[in-house]
């Protein structure tokens, strides 16, 4: 298993996540896709850390940070989606275009 395989895998996951973000209507599902993208990044980082001959563990360090920050981000996002649900009665992203132009 060379570095390239991991890179391709993470790129694939990233693109799936990206598609999910653009195509999905419900905010929660969008959040899931974002998580997907972030995990793809983690995979990439860890793979670089392992395969590269640098010997330092910067890749893993960054991955750990990313995981923590991603968690905080999702928590925050869900709270805000909750407020949207309470004020708008639904989380369909296509309906929230009151502001435009």
């Amino acid at each position: 298993m060379t570095l390239l395989h991991f890179q391709l895998l993470s790129a694939a996951i990233f693109c799936i996540g990206l598609y999910g973000v653009l195509a999905r209507r419900s905010a929660v599902l969008v959040l899931m896709s974002i998580e997907l993208m972030l995990n793809a990044v983690n995979l990439q980082l860890v793979a670089f850390g392992a395969f590269s001959g640098f010997g330092t563990s910067t890749g893993q360090v960054i991955a750990v940070f990313v995981i923590t920050i991603a968690a905080a981000e999702v928590g925050l996002a869900l709270a805000i989606v909750m407020r949207l649900f309470r004020s708008r009665g639904g989380v369909n992203m296509d309906e929230i275009d009151v502001m435009r132009g």
Partner: protein
């Protein structure tokens, strides 16, 4: 002679003083103006005598005024026979007219409400005319030339409440201004070509090798175009008849003796320029002749007394231009002086008739006035006969001189036409005298009485002069006018009489008068009416001033105003609405389109980011 520049200063001073303080002066300062012009008149004589003993010729006293770049412009003076002659004429006629105006402008005891302004502009006019005559450089000459135009505008439009007066003033100013365009271009061409504004220097170096002759010819024609405007030559003569709207003394001064002769004076002052170019001389002569004939024809059919005199002036100016065209410098200037005196007297007498007959100018309503107004009718008759060319009156000598000049200067066709013109001028003068003064006194004119002394005396004085001044042509005391009035660079020629032309001109003049008596002497106008039917169409053309006025008016209404209207609309619609508002509205429209793309949907915003990354990645990847 050195202080000759003081002469115009009297007038300018009077104008400034009156213009500012006329409300606080007794009689609005009219006496002050008259005093100023008398002082000017008195000052002319020492200059004359000083020149006589210092030797007749050109005395130039330069004085610098301002300089711009390489150009030095001064306001010096030239004193030569031509100047002195003109100075004498202008100051003399101005004095006469101003004294006459004192009476003319008083209607039943009270002065005209703006008499102060009248006299102020009068002194400004005579001052500018004097400056014109004295000017030693082209720019100063043009300055005076324009000031004279302004004064004629102000004086013609003196009674500006009357619509016709305001229009006439505007027409006069605009027509002369069109002439001035030619003059200015000519003057600037000369200044640029010779690098100096000084007349004497330019006239001296006309023949120099380095000079581009095409420019000299062009400037000759253009300067003459300017002279045509001011001296009411064909085709720029249309303003002169309308200028009669102004007060009659104004017409006497401006449209008889001084302003209209400015054109002739200009051609005389720049005579070497015209002498050097034959084509220009031919043009001057032919236009002069055409103007003379047209003027005479129109004077024949006019019914308004002042219009008759106006056309007569136009005709005589034609004679002067013809003389200059033929190279007869002395003859032209001599006729200018003689005509000035005679025509001023005619206008003043017309004025006194109008003054007496409650502003009536239609000669058909007048008749047999000689019984009521002896002095005026005598003066008018003398003037008319003089201009008709009856010896020994003054205009006869000058017309004779012109005949001599034309005879040896131009081809026979000009001479024949000139003779016809002599007959015509005698004819219309005779008609005027007969219809106005002889025949039966009409009932409504019964209460007419002679004008007050202040108006009658100037008439008498002028009449006397009309008789006497002719003799200065004769070689008594010096070898004749030819030696005094000499074109620069020309040799003086003594007075000589060529019997054949002398007799011819007298016979034709008397013939003209006889014809006039025949047609208009008797009461019955049957013969005249018969003539009028036969040449009905010709009569209408001439009566309508050859439809010149209508043509000009048509061009102005259809062409000039239409074009300017179109241009203004083009300016607003195209240059402004399209050229300026266009980009503005375009920007706003672009903004509206851009705004349309911001849909408010989250998905589109996300797409924006993705596309952005893709584009940026591509740009970086392919190493733009």
């Amino acid at each position: 002679m050195e202080q000759a520049w003081l002469i115009p200063v009297f007038g300018f001073g009077a104008f400034a003083f009156l213009a500012l303080f006329r409300k606080y002066l007794p009689g609005q300062g009219k006496h002050l103006a008259v005093l100023a012009i008398i002082a000017a008149f008195v000052a002319v004589w020492p200059v004359l005598f000083d020149m006589l003993d210092k030797g007749v010729g050109e005395h130039h006293f330069p004085r610098d005024w301002f300089s711009a770049g390489p150009l030095e412009v001064g306001w010096g003076i030239i004193v030569d026979p031509l100047t002195v002659a003109m100075l004498a004429l202008i100051t003399f006629v101005s004095v006469i007219v101003q004294v006459y105006s004192l009476g003319y402008m008083r209607h039943n005891g009270t002065d005209d409400s703006r008499i102060g302004w009248y006299f102020a502009v009068h002194s400004l006019f005579s001052a500018s005319m004097l400056m014109l005559v004295l000017a030693d450089n082209l720019l100063l000459l043009y300055v005076a030339w324009e000031l004279v135009g302004l004064c004629s505008y102000l004086l013609i439009g003196f009674w500006f409440e009357r619509r016709s007066a305001a229009e006439a003033a505007k027409k006069a100013f605009v027509t002369t201004r069109i002439g001035d365009v030619g003059l200015l271009i000519g003057v600037v061409l000369l200044i640029v070509e010779f690098g100096t504004v000084d007349i004497i220097e330019i006239m001296g170096s006309l023949g120099d090798p380095g000079v581009n002759q095409a420019v000299v010819t062009a400037s000759a024609f253009l300067v003459f175009f300017g002279a045509m405007g001011k001296s009411a030559q064909f085709p720029l003569h249309v303003w002169l008849p309308d200028a009669m709207e102004g007060p009659t003394p104004v017409s006497a001064l401006i449209h008889a003796a001084t302003m209209v002769t400015a054109g002739v004076f200009l051609v005389a002052r720049l005579f070497p320029l015209f002498d050097a170019t034959d084509s220009a001389q031919m043009a001057i002569a032919s236009i002069g002749l055409v103007t003379a004939l047209m003027g005479a024809a129109m004077a024949l059919v006019m019914t308004d007394l002042k219009r008759i005199l106006a056309y007569s002036t136009m005709s005589h100016l034609g004679f002067m231009m013809l003389a200059l065209g033929a190279g007869g410098y002395t003859a032209a200037i001599f006729h200018l002086l003689m005509h000035g005196i005679a025509k001023a007297m005619l206008f003043l007498s017309a004025g006194s008739i109008m003054h007496a007959a409650h502003e009536e100018t239609d000669i058909r309503k007048m008749g047999g006035l000689r019984k009521r107004m002896p002095i005026t009718s005598a003066a008018f008759t003398i003037g008319a006969l003089a201009l008709a060319g009856i010896p020994p009156l003054n205009a006869f000598w000058s017309k004779d001189e012109i005949l001599l000049a034309v005879a040896d200067g131009l081809n026979p066709v000009f001479v024949v036409l000139f003779l016809i013109a002599i007959v015509l001028s005698a004819l219309y003068m005779g008609r005027a005298v007969l219809v106005v003064f002889f025949g039966k006194l009409k009932p409504e004119n019964l209460d007419i009485h002679e004008s007050p002394r202040i108006m009658a005396w100037p008439l008498a004085l002028l009449a006397g002069l009309a008789v006497v001044t002719g003799f200065i042509a004769l070689p008594i005391g010096y070898e004749g006018i030819g030696t005094f009035l000499v074109a620069p660079g020309d040799k003086p020629h003594a007075f000589e009489v060529v019997p054949i032309w002398l007799v011819a001109s007298v016979v034709l003049a008397l013939g003209g008068l006889a014809l006039a008596y025949l047609l208009y002497g008797k009461e019955d106008t049957s013969r005249v009416d018969a003539l009028r039917e036969r040449f009905a169409r010709a009569h209408d053309i001439v009566a309508n001033r050859f439809y010149m006025d209508h043509a000009y008016q048509w061009t102005i209404d259809r062409v000039v105003l239409k074009v300017s209207g179109l241009l203004a609309r083009f300016d607003r619609k195209v240059v402004n609405d399209v050229g300026v508002n266009g980009p503005g509205l375009g920007a706003v429209e672009a903004g509206r389109r851009l705004r349309y793309h911001v849909t408010g949907l989250f998905a589109d915003y996300g797409l924006g980011i993705v596309v952005g990354v893709a584009v940026l990645g591509a740009l970086l990847w392919f190493g733009v």
